[in-house]
């Protein structure tokens, strides 16, 4: 992390880097307020991938020829950039996966399936995205381990008062939680949970899919054992993500996917595994995608992730203020100083699908649904919410347009 103060980011200027904004939607400028689900792509990142394909594409790590050496160098350079972005002690601990979801499944399968059993407990939170909930629920069921959930309070913040009661029920072996909730924007006390998890002798698995694009993330400061995130939410391409894992754990673990590249020796009688990170990267890697991921990290580093965080915090506060003026609106989640650039709400009884559809006719893209957080929706007593989420290219005018759009929704359906 750079300690010196950075200039605030100029979202209006940065928008020029994003070709997606060079178009009209239903005759209106695009207000893309769905960055929590996936971010748009800067030209710089797209060009890096394109150039890689045009000049240096080959498979990595095995070819003796020039193109393959060049591709390998670019691929491993990207690994270094991604590893440094979360302050991993070594790039060897950084595994390229398809996305955060696969990174979490890797841990659930390769660690969970081999280390869990009756009497053990897997602990998740009510705020988890399905991707850090269902794999653990499934592995607990398969292995006979118990499955427990840390609940949220009315503000959508974790209620850590239950921890002792949970620990009394069994041997806590896994604590899986997200750093930032994609449904509510809650910033969670991961350091505390990691400390508690380690006291129990558990591994601590952090879903940083929603944190890494927007906030400085430091695996060493968090004190976790595994951390998962996705390139596509941070200006990178689809098709690639990352798992950081503590070296001793990764080395002791069984592999996950098996096949080409992850082996040392394959014999009819027995197969031995390769070294980190290869052991967990079976088959041909998402090569160009990793290169694009590296380019996205360079783009974010240029702007500064602290500047992004500040920008989004301002937007979130402004959005909460402006949306709060709308009669009948229900806002979910914590106060602005404890939340990321995500605002979830319902407009009285109006179904989120209808809200999103009418907003779309104004060129405004928001999410309407359960946000892959059905356990949380159950808790909130709704099937779905509307969610507006921000990124480095979001400008306050888009929030004004959102508010105007919601007034129109009320006029039509209210």
């Amino acid at each position: 992390m750079v300690a010196t103060a950075r200039p605030a980011l100029e979202a209006q200027r940065l928008r020029a880097d994003f070709p997606i904004f060079d178009q009209k939607i239903h005759g209106k400028p695009l207000a893309y307020l769905d960055s929590a689900v996936t971010a748009q792509k800067p030209r710089q990142m797209l060009d890096a991938m394109h150039t890689f394909y045009e000049t240096s594409y080959a498979n990595v790590h095995r070819g003796v020829y020039t193109l393959s050496e060049r591709a390998t160098a670019e691929f491993e350079r990207a690994r270094g950039l991604v590893a440094a972005f979360v302050n991993a002690p070594s790039p060897r601990e950084l595994i390229f996966t398809r996305q955060a979801t696969e990174a979490l499944n890797l841990v659930a399968y390769a660690w969970g399936l081999n280390n869990l059993g009756p009497g053990d407990l897997v602990v998740v939170t009510e705020l988890e995205h399905h991707s850090n909930f269902v794999p653990w629920q499934y592995m607990a069921k398969r292995t006979g381990a118990g499955f427990r959930m840390i609940n949220v309070n009315a503000d959508g913040e974790l209620d850590l008062g239950d921890l002792d009661a949970i620990a009394a029920e069994g041997q806590v072996k896994v604590v899986a939680n997200n750093l930032v909730s994609n449904a509510l924007g809650t910033i969670n006390p991961v350091e505390k949970l990691a400390e508690w998890g380690h006291e129990q002798g558990a591994i601590v698995v952090v879903d940083a899919a929603q944190a890494a694009p927007h906030h400085p993330v430091d695996v060493q400061a968090l004190g976790c054992d595994f951390l998962a995130f996705s390139a596509h939410k941070m200006c990178g391409p689809s098709g690639v993500g990352a798992l950081w894992g503590r070296r001793e754990l990764l080395e002791a673990m069984e592999p996950f996917n098996l096949g080409g590249h992850m082996i040392s020796k394959v014999r009819y009688e027995e197969t031995t595994w390769g070294e980190l990170p290869h052991k967990f990267e079976a088959g041909t890697s998402p090569i160009a995608e990793a290169v694009g991921f590296g380019a996205a990290i360079e783009y974010l580093n240029e702007i500064g992730v602290e500047a992004i965080e500040q920008h989004e915090q301002k937007l979130a506060a402004y959005a909460l203020e402006r949306l709060g003026e709308i009669p009948g609106i229900k806002l979910y989640g914590p106060p602005p100083d404890r939340r990321a650039g995500i605002v979830s709400f319902n407009l009285g009884e109006i179904h989120p699908h209808d809200v999103a559809q009418i907003l779309d006719s104004e060129g405004i893209a928001i999410r309407a649904g359960h946000h892959c957080c059905q356990p949380l929706m159950t808790r909130l007593g709704v099937a779905a919410t509307n969610r507006a989420s921000f990124y480095l290219y979001t400008i306050p005018e888009e929030i004004d347009r959102l508010v105007d759009g919601l007034h129109k929704v009320q006029k039509i359906l209210g």
């Binding site: 239903h26 179904h351 989120p352 699908h353 209808d354 559809q357 009418i358 006719s361 309407a368 649904g369 359960h370 059905q374 929706m377 099937a383 779905a384 039509i412 359906l413």
Partner: protein, 141 residues
Amino acid sequence: MDDLYREVILDHYKNPRGHGVIEDADASAEGVNPLCGDEVSIYVQFAPDGETVDEVKFSGRGCAISQASTSMLMEMVVGKTAQEIAELPKEELLEEVGIPLTPIRLKCALLGLGVLKVALHRAKGTPLPQEWAGLDELELK
């Protein structure tokens, strides 16, 4: 936009026909649109011939499109036989709805029809269209 939420849709949405529950229905089913979690239940009462729909009601939550199209469906099917409803092409309902729908919203508009066909299938053994046989469009309970 004006296309999508035209007057007749809004009318059915705000004043749904056949909204409610039939206790001890002759046929019933419940479905959920997995894309948004919307649920709809449909209840059918047959006439004494055991084939003709005498009364039909629906309950559940949903967006304007799914509520309005299910409400329209309720009006369309009373007096029809189970077999006739099983053969009802979805295009006929969509024509009634009468607005252009993207694939995602199509799922909303057809949720009620799918659930109704499943209810009749279970009660009377009427055929399910291929796309519902595989439960592709909805999750049943």
